[in-house]
Amino acid sequence: MENQAVDAVALAGSAVAADFSLWGLFLKADWLVKAVMLVLIGASFWCWAIIFEKGIRFRRLRAQADAFEDSFWSGGSLEDLFDKIGTRPDHPMELLFVSAMREWRRSTSKGLSGEDFLRAGIKDRIVQVMHITLTREIERLERYMGFLATVGSTAPFIGLFGTVWGIMNSFQAIALTKNTNLAVVAPGIAEALFATALGLIAAIPAVVAYNKFSTDLGRYSIRLEGFVGEFSAILSRQLDERQD
């Protein structure tokens, strides 16, 4: 007990001279605080991976959607466009188009567009296929967004837990040394606060990115739904024209 106290005093004395760089703070921390910091660093790493991934993805999606809408509304034949895209669509809007066109072709090639009630069935099926594709694509885009939201809301608490633990250690140091000198507590509190800092570092980008990507995603899904509506309207008009 006494030796421990002496050690604590010696540590406190050496801590005054020690460096307060981030690395120094990390090395000095208690093992549990270290674990908390590592968890937070891991969370921050994964968050940034998602942020970069999503940022690049959404930018590319927007560009691809613009390009596709240009060619779609250019007045060219939809059959030609479908043939050009072929069987390998590389973004959700193309995928919607391809799935609808495939359904359309399958239905018309079998001569199902002759009767009225069959025509209504084709329309329903096309709209349904497009909606299923839409939800599947949106679901794919939403992947990892939940992680961002979780990190954004829990990382500060995890950091806070590390801080509370570190401060508990500092106060135990006071109790051991029976010295209320601030120098005994200050290093411990500094390293403990570093855990909260890491938590905030992980959480802030996560929250910002989550908000940005969820609005981006909302906007994109509205765009896709608009395309679904327009395209189904075009196809149903075609069906009616063909019957006439």
Binding site: S21, L22, W23, W48, A49, F52
Partner: protein, 317 residues
């Protein structure tokens, strides 16, 4: 996803690398730590009781009247006689009346003085000489040696005529000083926690004067300063500047503690801050345990010391 992971890895690797190489210090210039130059400042009380004025008084009286004068010697008594003499014209009653009111604190000494002073004229001469070191009192003694006893009342009766040579105001001022001195002496005694009755007999008539000399303020201050060096004021105490703690210290001749110091004062249980401060002061005494630079010849004086710790002195406010 691979792109995102790669970029994130690069980013975090960079940040951790920056942290290893001292991130906050890279951006800020290193703090220049100023080397403190340690200067010891001993705070001395407003007045210091010097030893020398005390010594001559007991020494000079012995030749004329061995037993009576040492008692009469105390500074304040004769000078009050000079200052307050004017009202009572008859010489014999004067000293009795004057001396009785003048030294209110040492009552026992005043009474023997009354008995002695009226008649023996030589007894009064030594007093002014011994006590009045400054110029004016000497003039009295030298100018009027033959008149001796009666010479004293006259100047007081005609103070305005003789002002140039010998002004009552100046004597009054002197007297005032001596009274203050006397008070300061008594305060030091009080702080040393000696009963008021003890010091006068030991200090004045005893043959071994050196041994029992009162400690000077600067000596007490030196002790208190040593202990204050070790004292850590409990930080954050409410009303810290009023936490005056008094500690009674028992010392061995070598400066070590004879027994555990005691906290003097009644309110230690009521106020937790006071209790903390008192405990810390006591710890400070124990930490500084062998006190240095104690005057060995005055051990009787510092065997028991009551030290007053005032955070105000230490907080510099």
């Amino acid at each position: 996803m691979r792109n995102g992971i790669a970029i994130s890895t690069l980013l975090h690797f960079g940040v951790v690398l920056a942290a290893v190489y001292g991130l906050p210090d890279l951006l800020n210039p290193p703090v220049v730590v100023e080397q403190p130059i340690i200067v010891e400042l001993v705070t001395i009380a407003e007045r210091t009781v010097s030893q020398k004025p005390v010594e001559p008084q007991p020494k000079k009286p012995p030749p004329p009247a061995p037993k009576l004068k040492p008692i009469a010697a105390p500074e304040p008594k004769p000078e009050p006689a000079v200052a307050k003499a004017p009202p009572p014209p008859p010489p014999p009653p004067e000293p009795a009346k004057v001396e009785a009111p003048a030294p209110p604190k040492p009552a026992p000494k005043a009474k023997p003085a009354e008995v002695v002073t009226p008649k023996p004229k030589p007894a009064e001469k030594p007093k002014p000489k011994a006590q009045k070191k400054p110029a004016p009192p000497k003039k009295i003694a030298m100018a009027e040696p033959p008149k001796a006893f009666r010479s004293l009342p006259r100047p007081k009766q005609k103070p305005k005529r003789r002002r140039p040579k010998f002004s009552a105001d100046r004597i009054a001022a002197l007297l005032d000083k001596d009274e203050r001195k006397h008070r300061a002496e008594q305060q030091t005694k009080a702080t040393k926690k000696r009963t008021a009755a003890k010091p006068p007999p030991t200090s004045r008539p005893s043959p071994s004067r050196v041994r029992t000399q009162p400690m000077t303020m600067s000596e007490i201050d030196a002790i208190r300063y040593q202990i204050q060096q070790c004292w850590t004021i409990p930080a954050g105490a409410r009303d810290a500047r009023n936490l005056v703690v008094r500690i009674k210290v028992f010392l061995n001749p070598d400066g070590s503690l004879a027994k555990a110091p005691e906290i003097v004062g009644g309110k230690q249980n009521s106020d937790p801050f006071y209790r903390t401060a008192a405990e810390s002061a006591r710890r400070a005494v124990q930490k500084c345990a062998p006190l240095k630079n104690l005057p060995a010849d005055k051990y009787a004086r510092w065997r028991e010391l009551t030290l007053t710790f005032n955070p105000r002195d230490m907080l510099g406010g």
